[in-house]
Symmetry: C2
Subunit: 360 residues, 2 copies
């Protein structure tokens, strides 16, 4: 038996307003005036002075606003990396991602691809990255994805939606400032929060689970129940708690894996461009056969917050399209093995996967 | 408001038997044949081939057995560092601590003092360390202290018992192998486990608490209750869980502090040489005024496991001795401020501290 040696985020700061300490934190990492800090910022913050006025640009530092209507693509990463190489004479001092899971993943992927030759798609998989990344900082502005703490960056490539999983992927620095999540719209708050909830359910019900992942998953699950089902938390406390739930939910994956919902959701995302949070919700709603208690809780949460999920999204798909989704989903072997055991292929047949997609 | 930027352990591996991966993990860190790995090993493992046969010594690598009857002293660290400097022509490739809190703290302190000039006592306090430590690895063989994850190493110096708290103190690598705890004697299991329990109570009831520390503390506390009060866990699961409880309990201190029990226990330890685990228990038993629910739970646990604590240990002390203990305890301002608030000096007077010591 060999166990994974898990890399943790090197430094983490937590607190309301801790975003104000960004400049002081990154200053010692500057490698001279020609090596800029590049900020990838979710474009919902464009013109938001409350946030952007606190980003200090020196020398050649640059803010790049990132549209987040679509999940990040490997080709997009390649373009962003090329832009940096063409514009600056030296490698950046650091890459800073300010946003949700999409922006976190872009910051991680760009920092990796600045020091590893070739195209991002070549590194989709496990432990293919050879060189340490550029110093990179994650600052989540919405809670739930766990991207701030994970050793992956999920990208849609020409052939598959799959992460660049490596020891060099985790952030060198994370700033957890729950105040940054104060303006998240309710629907998005729910979908992204459910990403955390679903991580926990998939991790805790998976065959890979050990005491390490279990302890993180249980805590994150308890916090999700408090946040989404009980009415005892005030607004700020709920923001604080959800940011920590996301963190612990992400840590829970360290020795575990996600499962059925994530695998099928990747298929939806690949073919239809459905974003991860809502995609997970659409899928999870139909997984009572695999996660009966989790799905019951999910339906309670959905109803409590008046969330209506899209229906019939697979209604008009043809056979070829189903095949594409099923190919993407079933290629994610570790997820299925975690969810259903070593003989998962006998349980999750192509017919079964199609039957599930047809319900959505 | 300024928040602490907390350094985390860089890499962690968890699993029964993961100790077998030690050689493979540290091999890439070797800086040549003249730069040895130094293993500090709790001397209870002397002659224990089950453990020691799995330590591979190459070139000038060396095992140093550490007696653990007494808490580590600053002078002991200085001697250990001098021994290394005299014996080897190059700085070690790494320092590996295999044991309980004492050995963890020795490994951390030696790795720091090999790269920072002067004596260990000069660095007791907060953020006095200037240079990064030698690569250092922590492998706990008993659970509860949280030393495997903390940014301190507690030492008894000529003037005080106080930690070297710094960003360079945390381990670069931790190996969490619960199997290594299988032969811990019951009394020691209880005392050290209660160190974790008391961390949680002090952290969760402290004025410094935030959502980060709270989430870790709550989880560790829940796990302690399961382990020490319920009968539902089998032996191996209880070992696994206690190792994780210790980890989370240590993380809970990140944004918090310990409190009354630790402060008074440091006094006992400084004057009477009482070890930390049992010292905490002796003190905590009398703290119902400060931690009523925690002390009730503690008494239930003590009774359930048939633990008899020493009594009357302060009976024969003279005024000067009380003064020494009180000086050590009351010098730990952050602990008192966390426990009792900014006006703690009005609550914890010298008379009050003496009254508490007299009960022990």
């Amino acid at each position: 038996m060999t166990y994974k040696n898990f890399p943790m985020v090197s430094k983490v700061i937590f607190g309301r307003g801790s975003f104000n300490q960004l400049e002081e934190i990154i200053a010692p990492k500057r490698n001279g005036r020609h090596a800029p800090f590049i900020y990838y910022v979710d474009d919902v913050f464009k013109g938001n002075h409350w946030l952007t006025s606190r980003i200090t640009l020196s020398y050649k530092d640059k803010i790049i606003y990132v549209p987040t209507k679509e999940e990040p693509k490997t080709s997009q990463i390649d373009t962003l990396v090329e832009d940096i190489i063409l514009e600056f004479s030296e490698k950046p001092s650091g890459i800073i991602g300010i946003g949700g899971g999409i922006v976190m993943d872009i910051a991680k992927a760009v920092s990796l691809m600045l020091t590893n030759k070739g195209e991002a798609k070549d590194y989709q998989g496990w432990d293919l990255i050879k060189n340490p990344a550029i110093y990179h900082v994650g600052i989540p502005t919405i809670s739930g994805t766990g991207a701030e703490v994970s050793r992956t960056t999920i990208l849609t490539g020409p052939e598959r939606k799959l992460g660049i999983n490596s020891d060099y992927t985790p952030f060198d620095q994370v700033i957890l400032d729950p105040e940054l999540t104060k303006d998240v719209p309710k629907d998005q708050w729910f979908y992204t929060g459910m990403d955390c909830f679903i991580h926990c359910i998939e991790s805790l019900n998976g065959t890979y689970l050990n005491a390490f992942s279990q302890s993180y998953g249980e805590k994150a699950l308890d916090m999700c129940k408090d946040i989404f089902l009980n009415d005892t938390l005030d607004t700020e406390t709920a923001q604080d708690q959800l940011m920590m739930a996301s963190w612990h939910g992400g840590m829970s994956i360290a020795y575990s894996q996600v499962g059925v919902a994530h695998a099928l959701s990747y298929g939806l995302s690949y073919l239809l461009g459905i974003k991860h949070g809502i995609g997970n919700c659409i899928v999870f709603d139909h997984l009572d056969e695999y996660y009966p208690e989790g799905v019951k809780l999910f339906k309670d949460m959905k109803s409590k917050h008046g969330i209506e999920l899209p229906k019939g999204i697979c209604e008009d798909l043809d056979e070829h399209q189903f095949d594409v989704m099923i190919d993407v989903a079933l290629s994610l072997e570790p997820l299925w093995e975690n969810a259903l055991g070593k003989k998962w292929q006998k349980i999750m047949t192509r017919d079964k996967a199609k039957e599930l997609y047809q319900k959505m």
